[in-house]
Symmetry: C2
Subunit: 197 residues, 2 copies
DNA sequence: AACTTGACATACCCTGCGTATGTGATGTAT
DNA sequence: ATACATCACATACGCAGGGTATGTCAAGTT
């Protein structure tokens, strides 16, 4: 019963973030009301501004959480497919499929950049980007990929995957265009291979 | 002096759009005040809601204008570099460089998708996307590119270019990373070539 | 010349963010 | 043990900004 104080505080933070994930995903950042959001978990805006500073701070916390979940999941899937070229492809495909989640799209891919600015400047520094960069660095060191800038490669690969996901999500028949997107992604990524050099 | 009515109306529309371009670019969509914006050109919000319906409508009009400018410019540059593989590369590079413009970034690449949704659903249907798709279709028909889905190719290429631009813009030394980005873009795009098939 | 239309202005309401201040419970010092 | 300090959160207020209902005056019509 000694540390009861910080426990309830962390509990409240978790609940606020969870409520924010739902609200931001459903209504979008701009349309989400902080009053409704906090009332939903039995608190008021006072708790929110005390814990996160302002509305943007709450979004940042939500984005960081989702981003970390995505990065670890993508790395896990990539690692399971091998530590070479196949791993990178699997990582990209995983990223595309995760970006199909409306929550991810709305919060991390649309509102996130618009409100918080460039992902690489985020406090979490975009775990997905870092993960892809590390994979690229390894493959370049192994001589699998051309000696391009790893940061550039990661950026463009993630960008391609992101837009593929947005395309699929907006499509009428997602299951039909998904393989096309993954095929095109594989072709693009193959351009980084050292074979033709 | 007969059609004086529609003339001044179109004049006002142009001025509102011009003012909105400035305001949205400088402050971002959310922070741009419609009162300030309209007063800047000697009008009130009444004119705005009459012409564009709501704030989103004004953004849509601005986005459409910029998008059209970008598409025609990219196509022109691409055509000047030839109608083959070099044309596609030049078009992509042009897209990257245009996306370095803060106005383009803020309005078309960040706030646009966040507020209006997926670019392909826009009334202008994203001229840039269409232009790239047509180029891809032509090159596939010529047998220069692998027979991937042209829509997919255009989406991923544009996505890669967009993220390259965001990266460069957020960088400390844009002139230093720009060549890296273009090199990586070229490598990626080369993955679409039919050579290895 | 009377009437209608329409482009825009004016005035109002309401939502929602941020902040200043209050309060009660938890931890600390004497 | 009691007085004090802290802190997490609630309450209350100000204010900006978007949308809408209504007014107005000039341009066009008959």
């Amino acid at each position: 019963m000694v540390k009861r104080r910080v426990e309830t505080m962390e509990e409240n933070r978790r609940r606020l973030i969870a409520a924010a994930r739902r609200a931001f995903a459903e209504k979008g950042y701009a349309a989400a009301s902080m009053d409704d959001l906090t009332a939903e978990v039995g608190l008021t805006r006072g708790a929110l501004y005390h814990n996160f500073g302002d509305k943007r701070g709450l979004l940042a916390a939500v984005v960081e959480q989702i981003d970390m979940e995505m990065a670890s999941r993508a790395q896990e899937i990539g690692a399971r497919a091998g530590d070479g070229w196949q791993g990178l492809l699997a990582e990209g495909a995983a990223y595309i499929e995760m970006a199909l989640d409306p929550e991810v799209q709305r919060i991390v891919l649309l509102d996130g950049p618009a409100v918080l600015g460039d992902p690489s400047q985020w406090p979490s520094q975009s775990g997905c980007l870092q993960a892809t960069r590390q994979t690229a660095e390894r493959l370049i060191a192994q001589g699998v990929l051309k000696p391009v800038d790893p940061e550039a490669a990661a950026r463009l690969l993630n960008g391609a995957a992101l837009n593929a996901a947005l395309w699929i999500a907006a499509s009428d028949e997602p299951q039909h265009v998904l393989p096309k997107a993954i095929e095109a992604f594989g072709a693009l990524a193959a351009g980084l291979l050292k074979t033709s050099a």
